[in-house]
């Protein structure tokens, strides 16, 4: 990598070379048996340069591919007159690598998958879940002409477990997203089975306003909208409703929302972002008051704010080497004052809905905070108890009105689901009076 970088420096004014080496193993268990085992060992290189007052970029998949320099220079020739800033800030260690997970063989991962199947069998033989397990080990290395030269190793562990209805469709799902290995527990399996059984009773919900609990998983849909709002890029473009709102109340006083890139064993934790900026614990909303935006290096001057370490090479749908670093969550983390256990959250609800997962996270007017979600997996609450699975039901609103309606925050953190990935961790959240369109 250093050889290539020396050649780059000779031909460009300033440069940053990013390298990711990825080693991953995954398996899928369907219908009680292993459906596939896959592996991957790949390399990605991304170069960003300044030359003659313009910036350019290019990617390659081999250290021998010196055309990456040529292509980055070509790219710079079309850009407007603007350069990138490459920084060299001190980096601290972050706990994001698990030796045990990194050394697990494909057989050991398979054994864990089959053990989860057996846990189901030990409680209820009739429920055969789908189980997906993915483990990846990455080394990320960034060198730039400001003297930054750091690398880190990280591991990521994903488990998705899903039961199916008697017609064969998705019923209940649950997941682990973490940097370290953690065994799926019998209690988790028992909780899935309990919800699976409740789901066998299908219920219709009338249209109207009612108390709604979003599970930690389902909160990903609402936080995707908040992420768009606190994205400094959107503030600069003037399409964020949170423009000029720092210091103002945007949510109920019971909720605090952080972006925590240093969270111990967080799925997205790492020492620095994909521009080499150290990650941070950034308080976005403190007891309902907007405190900060998420800022990348390019936004620093325009907003007179410091970069928060949130520029990542991924989108909602991809994490490809060619994705440019752009503002994204590291690990969003939702906390509450006077948190209540999940049972307590629903105890006093006479009639309402508990939502475990939704569809439509990526659709609708996200920058404006609008949401209109199909409840993929949710339950009717009656007199403080879950009584059946709601079908063909939607929940709609605007987060900038509805974050004010949060009454209580639960305790148990779940990974927040966003299409393919996760954006952090949240407990269940109780909203008072959201719009529900039933059947």
């Amino acid at each position: 990598m250093r050889n290539l970088f020396e050649n780059i420096v000779e031909r460009c004014d300033e440069a940053e070379l990013y390298k990711v080496e990825n080693y991953s193993t995954g398996l899928s268990i369907l219908n009680g048996g292993i459906q596939s085992v896959k592996g991957s060992k790949t390399l990605g290189l991304a170069l960003r340069i300044n030359k003659d007052g313009r910036y350019g970029s290019a990617v390659a998949t081999s250290l021998d591919d010196e055309s990456i320099i040529e292509r980055a220079i070509l790219s710079s020739q079309y850009q407007k007159e603007e350069t990138l800033k490459f920084k060299n800030l001190p980096v601290e260690d972050v706990k994001c690598y698990d030796e045990k997970l990194a050394s697990m063989s494909a057989e050991e991962l398979t054994t864990e998958g089959l053990r989860i199947l057996d846990l189901f069998k030990s409680i209820d033989e009739s429920i055969i879940p789908d189980v997906q397990i993915n483990r990846s080990v990455q080394e990320i290395h960034i060198i730039n002409t400001s003297g930054f030269d750091h690398s880190y190793n990280r591991t990521q562990y994903e488990v998705r477990v899903m039961t199916k209805s008697k017609e064969g469709f998705m019923e209940v799902n649950s997941s682990i997203f973490s940097a370290n290995f953690r065994a799926f527990t019998k209690e988790e399996v028992a909780a899935i089975i309990k919800k699976h059984k409740i789901s066998q009773n299908r219920v219709n919900v009338p249209t109207g306003k009612m108390p709604v609990v979003f599970s930690g998983n389902a909160m990903g849909s609402l936080m995707t909208r908040l992420l768009s709002g606190v994205n400094a890029g959107n503030v600069i473009k003037k399409v964020s409703p949170l423009e000029n709102k720092i210091g103002e109340r945007i949510a109920s006083e019971v909720i605090t929302i952080k972006d925590h890139g240093k969270l111990e064993n967080g799925f997205a934790s790492c020492p620095f972002d994909d521009e080499g900026i150290p990650t941070n614990e950034t308080v976005l909303v403190e007891k309902g008051i907007l405190k900060n935006y998420l800022v990348s290096v390019s936004g620093e001057e325009k907003l007179n704010m410091k970069a928060t370490g949130n520029a990542f090479k991924r989108t909602m749908f991809s994490n490809d080497i060619e994705d440019q670093p752009a503002i994204d969550s590291s690990n969003f983390l939702i906390e509450g004052t006077n948190q209540l256990a999940d049972d307590e959250l629903i105890k006093n609800i006479k009639k309402g809905i508990y939502i475990d997962s939704v569809m439509g996270t990526h659709t609708g007017n996200i920058p404006a905070g609008e949401y209109s979600l199909n409840i993929g997996c949710g339950y009717l609450i009656e007199d403080g108890k879950l009584v059946g699975k709601v079908m063909d039901t939607m929940v709609s609103g605007n987060i900038y009105e509805d974050l004010m309606k949060i009454e209580a925050v639960g305790t148990k953190l779940e990974p927040m689901g966003v299409i393919f990935y996760t954006m952090g961790y949240s407990p269940a959240i109780l909203f008072n009076g959201l719009s529900v369109v039933g059947s």
Partner: protein, 450 residues
């Protein structure tokens, strides 16, 4: 490309294949009157698969010389899995697919592409109350080789290019967003002479600022070809991907061929072989020719989309629908170009026959869980007593596999395919997934709203 060295990586043990590809992409991103990014990407890599035991083992790699090791890893994975699995038989194919686009984007300079993209963006950005216009030119050119140890060797070029715009209008605190796309095939010709479309979309985006937010509830809806295409993709297309059937025996019963799925006026087809759309291709990533497949005929379930594995699993013919995003992924069953076949009605008839409903235009993404699905649209108009009235906004619809398809009661006589593909499944976003539809009317669909 050194195909012989790939060939040498394979042995005669069980089933083995290798796909190796060189990917060249050009991407130009602009915002209003500024170029944000120009990039020319080169990526190379391969994916090996082996089937010796009860399931596939597979391995992704970058360098040609690592193919042998990738095959060995795949064999080791597959050997771990107890059981024994057969693939559906397909003809051994040796073929070379070379593209001959009408206007070859590879021969057009980056300058020309960039200038045209900027021209459209600036045109739209000048419309009053348009806040941001983001435009993207994408061009993906791949040269793929697929070989297996049955003797198949397919060399194939694939190319897709297009313009895609996102427009945001703003008035006080309110914003509205729309999308517009041109191209979606291997030729650059569709990118020219689009001033009128761009301006109309910008004006529509501004008009949405004066629209009324929809009130949630049930409506009879008329969908344009974009929304109709998205609808059939989400409502039914994904479920016709037969890898779902590997999941559960229950679903096999639910999806029994011959079962009534829709009203008798509905015909749904997937055809990778039609030329010039995002989901058009000759061979899939198992070297099988993509086949036009009737999924629903006169309301009955008549077929589904297969890989060799799923075809064997249910004892049906392979259809050549097993595709991967790129060398980092295993191929999975994907739609090619899915569409609703045309029917007898004109749009005017449909509007006239609608007492109280909505006319919906422009797709804005969707999702499905198999049984339930949801999709968003850019905007719509109220229909009252057979006449188009005021504009409405913030529209997201939801439906159910078992009821919604049966509620399609009118189908237009004019089929149109969408210009932009794209679909996500199992972590793979695939730009080469097309869809289309005539105007269709669906009774009583749930529309979300406050």
């Amino acid at each position: 490309m050194d195909i012989n060295s790939l060939q040498k990586a394979l042995t005669n043990e069980g089933y083995q294949d290798i796909r190796y590809e060189t990917l060249a992409t050009t991407s130009i991103k602009v915002k209003n009157d500024e170029v944000k990014e120009v990039s020319v990407t080169n990526k190379k890599g391969g994916h090996a698969r082996a089937l010796l035991g009860g399931a596939f083992g597979s391995f992704s790699f970058n360098k040609l010389e690592d193919a042998k090791q990738a095959v060995e890893e795949s064999i080791a994975f597959s050997n771990q899995i107890p059981g024994n699995k057969e693939l559906a038989k397909v003809p051994v194919t040796v073929d070379k697919v070379i593209l001959t686009p009408i206007v070859d984007p590879r021969k057009i300079s980056i300058d020309e592409k960039k200038d045209l993209l900027l021209h459209y963006c600036m045109l739209a950005a000048e419309v009053k109350e348009i806040a941001v216009v983001e435009g993207e030119y994408y061009e993906q050119y791949s040269q793929k080789v697929f070989i297996n140890n049955e003797g198949t060797r397919v060399e194939q070029e694939q190319l897709i290019c297009g313009f895609a715009f996102s427009m945001t209008s703003k008035r006080d605190g309110l914003t509205q967003q729309t999308r517009l796309a041109f191209g979606g095939n291997d030729s650059f010709e569709d990118m020219y002479n689009k001033d009128k479309e761009v301006l109309e979309k910008a004006e529509q985006t501004v008009a949405l600022l004066s629209a009324t937010p929809i009130k949630g509830g049930k409506y009879d809806v008329i969908l344009d070809h974009e929304v109709g295409g998205l609808f059939i993709h989400e409502a039914f297309g994904h479920l016709s991907e037969a890898d779902n059937l590997l999941r559960s025996d229950a679903l096999k019963e639910t999806m029994e061929l011959g079962r009534v799925f829709a009203s008798p006026i509905l015909n749904v087809i997937d055809d990778p072989g039609m030329e010039g759309y995002p989901g058009s291709y000759i061979y899939d990533d198992e070297g099988v020719r993509g086949k036009k497949t009737y999924l629903i005929k006169e309301g009955l379930l008549t077929g589904r989309l297969h890989s060799r594995e799923t075809a064997s699993h249910v004892g049906e013919e392979p259809t050549g629908h097993s595709r991967a995003k790129n060398y980092e992924f295993s191929p999975i069953v994907r739609m090619g170009n899915i569409y609703i076949d045309k029917g007898p009605n004109s749009l005017e008839e449909m509007i006239k026959a609608t007492e109280r409903g909505l006319y919906l235009f422009g797709s804005a993404g969707g999702q499905t869980s198999g049984e339930m699905f949801t999709f968003a649209v850019q905007g719509g108009y109220i229909i009252e007593k057979g006449e188009i009235k005021g504009m409405v906004r913030d529209l997201v619809l939801t439906g159910n596999l078992f009821t919604t398809l049966k509620n399609i009661d009118m189908i237009g006589d004019d089929l149109n395919m969408r210009k932009r593909g794209g679909c996500g499944k199992n972590g793979q976003i695939l730009i080469g997934s097309g869809n289309g539809s005539p105007f269709i009317r669906i009774k009583s669909m749930a529309v979300g709203g406050k």
